[in-house]
Each structure stands twice: as C-alpha cells, then as structure tokens.
Amino acid sequence: MFDLRAALRAAALLAMLAFPAAGFAQGAPNADRPAAPVTGFNPDKAEVHEGEVLAKAPLVGHIIIPDTRAASLIQPNGRVWRDYRRGPLLWLTAACVLGMVGLLTLFYLLRGRIMIEGGRAASLIKRFTSFERFMHWLTAFSWCLLALSGLNVVAGRVVLLPLLGNDAFSTLSVWLKYTHNFVAFPFMAGVVLMFLVWLRHNIPNARDLAWFAKAGGLLGHEHPPAGKFNGGQKAVFWIVVLGGAGLSVTGLALLFPFSVTDITGMELMQVIHGGIALLMIAAMLGHIYIGSVGMEGAIDAMKTGEVDLNWAREHHALWVDEVMAEGTASVHPAE
C-alpha cells in the first residue's frame, strides 16, 4: 500500500537538503566568480544603532500590543526638557519672582508711597461698577491661586520640600495640582469678561506714549494726563489678555494630553506655559504693588469702586473731565 506519510517525510527531507544545496551552489564566492547577491535577511544592513536613532527620534516602529502609541522607541527631547527644567527655568523663576520683589522693595525705599498731593478731597467719584470689580477680583484671585500653585510645581521641591518633608509636601502638592487644573476655568472666564467689558478703554493712543515717556510720573512729581486707563494700566490689560490667552491655550493642551500634539509638542507647551506665567508674575507683582502699597488711594478703585476726587484729578484728569462733561459722573461727599 502506498504510505503517504512516509512519502511526504521523504519529500520533506529531500526538500530540506535541496534548498541549502542550491544556496550553497549559488553563494560560495571564489576568485573567478563574483559573489551572488545575498537574498533574505542580511544582518549587516540597516542595523538599529542608538546614535542614529537619537538623531531621528521620536522613532516609531511596529508594535503588536493594542496600544499602538507605544510604538515609539525613544524621545531624546526629554533630555533637553529636563536640562531646561533643572537649570534655566529655575534662574528665570528667581529673576521674575525674587528679582521683581527686590526691585519693588528698592523702589519703595527710594520713592516711598505715592501720596495724593492735594491731600484727600471731601468728595468721592464713582470709578468702577460692581460688575467690573467682581470680574477683576474673579480674575485676580484666580490668577493668584494659579500663580502660587504653578510656582509650587517649578520651585516647590527647592523651596518648600526641605521645610515640610516629603509626606506633607506631597499632600500639599496634590491639592495644589487640582487647584491649578480647576481654578483655570474661572480664570479664563474672568479674562474673557475683562476683555469684553474693558476693550474700548484700552485701545493704545498717542497719549500713552507721552505717559510712558514721563515714566507715568513714577520718577518725579509730574502727572502726565491720562484717561480712564493710563498707559501702564493699558499695558497690564494687554498683558493679562494676551498672556492669559497664551496660558489658556497651552494650559488646555497640557490638561488634555496628546489631544493636539505629540510628546515634543507637549514639552514645548509646558515650556511656553511656564515662560508666559513667569513674565506675567513679574508684571502682576508690579501691578499689585502700585495698586496697594505703592499708591495712596489706588486700592479704593477696586475695593469700593469709588475713589477720592483729588486722586482722580491727579492721575486720571482726562477721565474726570470727560465724565463731568457727559454728565455721567457720580460724585458725592466722603463720609
């Protein structure tokens, strides 16, 4: 009887011998015959060398687990980001925070508090509505919480961790992380409100240039004329609106990882977010200073909405004239 299994076995054995024989006949090089081209797997070609891969990373290969994003093998930009975080970023933070605080302290020691030269008037004039004050504080308090929680991520390990120890510091940092993630939303709302309500008062004009030329009267006793918002305040407005917009865009990209960009993009978003934030911190420190300690009568604008009439005439003379002429000024004696 024809034994199929034996026949197949014999055929397989023959085949196994035939192929290498053919290959051998083909591939053996000698001086007379050039070597036949190597077919199939050539281990010398296109090996994966770490040095080359680093140059073209992130290198995406093929992966058989369901998470196809894991097919990236290496991302060397992480090292650049790490070096920035541990070096230049810390210096930038020190400059923007400590440097600015130092500058303001120096300014206060040299110039002192800017007083109302004519002394307090007997009258108050309404400057900001309740809504304007609400949206300012919505933005301001949100921003303060965001700035502090953000600074903790940058410098907390250096400044706070030695004081609190690992456990307490981690607990604090988790809460600050959630604060940062969620208070971002009222901040964004506040910036949008401010933009809509105050845009028409913050269009730059020639008067602002003249105001800046006199350094806003900071260095002397001159009072360059200004409207509702002087040049410096317009600068603060645009820093808040544009800086806030930049922080919002980068922040949302960071909050929803990989929704708009890849790993290098995420690192870039983080660097830009931090950079804008630090510059904004420096600017707002100046704003907070002048609005509170730095100038007598300034805080009233945002605290009660009504300011001393002499203060208004000294710092926003054009605005006082304008609302007086329109008949929209609301003036009443101070109690």
Partner: protein, 44 residues
C-alpha cells in the same frame, strides 16, 4: 469688599463645577508618546 467675597465664592464654585464636569470625560491611560490621532485599541 462684597465683590471680593463674591469673587472668591464664584471661584470655588466654578472650580468645583469644572472638576465635576471633567470627571465625566473618561481619561485614557497615558502610556506612550502619542501622536495626534493615534488611538489605544484596548478593549474594555
């Protein structure tokens, strides 16, 4: 003064609301250097 307090209350309330809304969006596991559009195919 009242506006400052109102602002603080609004911040707390809106932040809590944001937290509640965000927790309804299912977050994928962050496991790799994703490129935009790449999706995790793991069955749940």
């Amino acid at each position: 003064m009242r506006m400052m307090l109102l602002a603080l209350v609004t911040i707390a309330a809106s932040a809590t609301l944001a937290a509640m809304v965000l927790s309804t969006i299912e977050s994928p596991a962050l496991t790799a250097f994703a490129t935009p559009g790449a999706r995790v195919d793991a069955a749940e």
